[in-house]
Structure formats: structure tokens, C-alpha cells
């Protein structure tokens, strides 16, 4: 273990042949990377596949890291790109809400319901809007960092977030107005 080495140091150690450095780097950030993958793809299987694909890619491409951004930003960018690729390949947005077991939910049933409905609504957004909202509104990344992760302009991220929120508000009204739809997201997915 290298508890006192920062992320860039771990990545450099990996490039120099340390067999444990990259695994340790992943362990440091795996929950946040997982959250981004799961919330942008919407289901456990795809998220796990995308994350594995992304991390192996990062493992192999570590020597290309130039230090122009933080290591976590670089890792997130690779993960988001892998998720985007997977979403495009599947040509599908998630057809079911996130399984409740994937989320460390609050104790109350109300909170659980709210989370399920919000995730169901989120799943109906276009990938770009969803990714921006996941990074900025849910995971709390500054807009500037989200822009680096998404490889786009800050203004674009703001715009995607604003449009995504507006659309989410509409979808949430629809879902809550007709509770049976919250479990039947496939009915509205065809619209996207």
C-alpha cells in the first residue's frame, strides 16, 4: 500500500512497473467512478462492463497521461467515454429503473420511492444531459471539472444541465401523476 502517495504518484508508479499501484488508485476512487457509470447507464450489468472496460483501458494507456488534469478527472473521462460507447452500442437507454439493491437507500420507504422515480426520470434523458446532471447535480463536481470530464465547454455543461433539469421536471410530473408508469419506464423510453 502507498497511503502517502498521491494519485499522480500512483499512476507514475504503475507506469514504472509497480504491480499494485493501479489497483490501489482504482480502490481510492471506485465508488465515485461506479456511481457515475451506474447513474449514466442505469443498470448494474452495463455499468460494471463499462467500468471494467474503462479501467483496463486506463491501465494500458496510463503512459499517455500528461498531467494536464487531475488523475481522477482523467479516469472519469475514460469512464464516461466507455459509458457513452456502451450506450451507443446498445442504442438503448435503460429500460428499467436502477435496482433498489444497488443504492444505499435511506430507511424510509418514501425516500426509496423518490430515488426510484428520480432515477427512472433520469434514465429518460439523452446521454449527454444525463451525464452532465450526474456529474454536477448528483455527484457534486464543479461545472469546470465536469466540462473537462465531458471534454466540452463549461457553457455546454451548464446548458445540458439546465435542459436536463427542465426535462426532468416534466418527466417527474408525468411519473408522479401516473404512479404505475414509474415502474414501467419502457413506455416513455421510446420517445428518446
Amino acid at each position: 500500500m502507498h497511503p502517502h502517495i498521491d494519485d499522480a504518484g500512483l499512476l507514475a508508479a504503475h507506469v514504472n512497473g509497480d504491480p499494485h499501484a493501479f489497483g490501489e488508485l482504482v480502490q481510492r476512487h471506485q465508488n465515485r467512478l461506479w456511481a457515475v457509470a451506474l447513474r449514466t447507464l442505469g443498470n448494474t450489468e452495463d455499468a460494471a462492463d463499462a467500468l471494467q472496460e474503462a479501467l483496463i483501458s486506463a491501465f494500458r494507456r496510463a503512459h499517455t497521461f500528461r498531467g494536464e488534469a487531475a488523475v481522477t478527472t482523467w479516469l472519469h473521462r475514460i469512464v464516461v467515454n466507455a459509458c457513452l460507447d456502451r450506450a451507443r452500442r446498445a442504442n438503448a437507454r435503460p429500460t428499467v429503473p436502477l435496482p433498489e439493491t444497488d443504492i444505499a437507500t435511506r430507511d424510509t420507504a418514501d425516500a426509496q420511492d423518490t430515488a426510484t422515480v428520480v432515477h427512472a426520470a433520469l434514465a429518460q434523458l439523452p446521454f449527454e444531459q444525463r451525464a452532465a446532471i450526474v456529474l454536477v447535480d448528483i455527484e457534486g463536481y464543479p461545472v469546470a471539472e465536469a466540462a473537462l470530464i465531458l471534454d466540452t465547454a463549461i457553457g455546454t455543461v451548464k446548458s445540458r444541465c439546465a435542459r436536463g433539469r427542465a426535462r426532468l421536471a416534466e418527466i417527474l410530473v408525468e411519473l408522479r401523476g401516473n404512479p404505475t408508469d414509474s415502474a414501467g419506464v419502457t413506455q416513455v423510453n421510446g420517445d428518446l
Binding site: Q27, N31, R165
Partner: protein
């Protein structure tokens, strides 16, 4: 879907933001964490496996270099042979008193009948002259539209090509790249790029636009790929990308 979100663009729904922020945190399930660590351990094992061995592209580049050297040597030999035959032919013609043959030998230079061309002169006119400064370069017109993400695999077709001469390039190259298919144009571009002797030059495309793809092997064992736009020349290399492929 019409007008979706537009009316809210400058006034994001605070309630939605609040609901998003209130979503419970997500933790990676232990089974998935274990799966990822297993996958990374496998990568580490693969990384360790053989003692340093040249990557396929490196081997291909070496083969290319060997091929170009052999090709150049054969060209030189052929040129010397042609020059030698010319001299012997002239001498024989004089010896035999065959006016017709002498005349034909004299034809190129009416005023210098007895001045046979040296093998050095012959070399100047030999076919290798068409690619003189790039004597170790192979040319190709693959037409491949290279992309940064897939460049490594796309290079296979280039590295497996047998290579053509610059004159052949000129006959095949698309109009946008024709300026680089002449020796002066190519020389200016290579000078601007700062790599006078790439191993392989492909007149192709990059990210959808006409481009020159230059492959060089670095002393470190890596392969450097430089991509220039069609307007590479005296005004600058107009590099579209530079990528180093590890050995």
C-alpha cells in the same frame, strides 16, 4: 418534445436540483469491486508475461526498413548495371564499326560522341532519384480514414502494404494531396515537420480530412506517428496530430 426545457433554461428548477442532490450515495457492490480487481490483476500478469519483445508494429517497421534497404540496394545495382551496359555498348559499337549503333549511342548528345556517361551520371538518372531524400521511406496511398482512437489497429493495413514509389503516388493520390505527391512539395513538408526521413508515408485521411501520415521509429523503440494536413509545406507542418505508439 417540442420546446422541451427551453422555458426553464435560464431558471433551472430548484426543486429538481434538490431531489437530485438528495439521492442516496452509491457504493460499489463488493462482488463488482472484486471483479474489477481480478481483471486488473490479470492485466498485471499479462503485462509481466514475456521478456520485452518488440511489438508487432515494431517488427513490421524493422521489416519495412530492411525491405527499403534491399530495394534501394537493388536499385543502385541496377543503375550501375545499366550504366555499365551503356559503356560496353558504346565501346562495342566503335569496335565493330557499326555506324548505326554508334549513331544511336550518340543520339542523346550530338556533340559528345566519345564521352560515355559515368556510372555516377547514370545514378543521377536512376529511378531511385524520384525519392532521393527519402531513400528509406516507403509510400502508400491507402485511403484509410485514420482515427486517433483506432489508429493502432488501422496501421496494420499500412504496415502490411508493400509500398510504392512517389511517382506512383502522384498517379493515385487524391487532388487535395497532390501538392505533397511531388518531390519538392514533400521535401518542404518533411522539413516543416522536422522529420526528413520517415519510414513510411501514407497519403490518406485523418478524422475525415485529407492528410499525410508519417511513421518514424524512435530511438526509444516507440513508433511516432505524425499526421499533417494537406497544406503542410513551407508555411508550416500544419500537424493534425502526433501520437507515439509504445513498443
Amino acid at each position: 418534445m417540442a420546446g422541451r426545457g427551453d422555458m426553464h433554461e435560464t431558471n433551472p428548477d430548484d426543486d429538481v436540483q434538490a431531489q437530485l442532490r438528495a439521492l442516496p450515495p452509491v457504493e460499489m457492490p463488493p462482488a463488482i469491486a472484486a471483479r474489477l480487481q481480478d481483471a486488473l490483476r490479470a492485466e498485471v500478469q499479462n503485462r509481466r508475461v514475456p521478456a520485452p519483445r518488440p511489438a508487432p508494429h515494431r517488427v513490421q517497421l524493422r521489416q519495412l526498413r530492411r525491405r527499403t534497404k534491399v530495394g534501394l540496394a537493388l536499385t543502385l545495382l541496377a543503375a550501375i548495371f545499366v550504366a555499365g551496359v551503356g559503356v560496353v555498348g558504346i565501346i562495342n559499337a566503335f569496335d565493330s564499326g557499326d555506324e548505326g549503333t554508334v549513331q544511336s549511342a550518340k543520339e542523346p548528345t550530338d556533340s559528345s560522341v566519345a564521352e560515355p556517361r559515368s556510372s555516377q551520371d547514370a545514378l543521377k538518372d536512376a529511378p531511385q532519384n524520384e525519392a532521393a531524400p527519402k531513400e528509406s521511406a516507403l509510400f502508400a496511398v491507402t485511403g484509410v480514414d485514420y482515427q486517433r482512437e483506432t489508429l493502432n489497429s488501422q496501421l496494420d493495413s499500412l504496415l502490411n502494404s508493400s509500398g510504392i514509389t512517389l511517382n506512383e503516388v502522384a498517379a493515385r493520390v487524391p487532388a487535395e494531396l497532390s501538392g505533397l505527391a511531388s518531390q519538392p512539395g514533400l521535401d518542404q513538408c518533411l522539413a516543416a515537420v522536422g522529420d526528413p526521413a520517415p519510414i513510411m508515408i501514407d497519403f490518406a485521411r485523418y478524422g475525415g480530412q485529407p492528410a499525410l501520415v508519417l511513421l518514424s521509429d524512435l530511438p526509444s523503440g516507440e513508433i511516432q506517428v505524425r499526421v499533417t494536413a494537406a497544406n503542410c509545406g513551407a508555411d508550416g507542418p500544419n500537424l493534425l496530430d502526433t501520437i507515439v505508439i509504445p513498443s
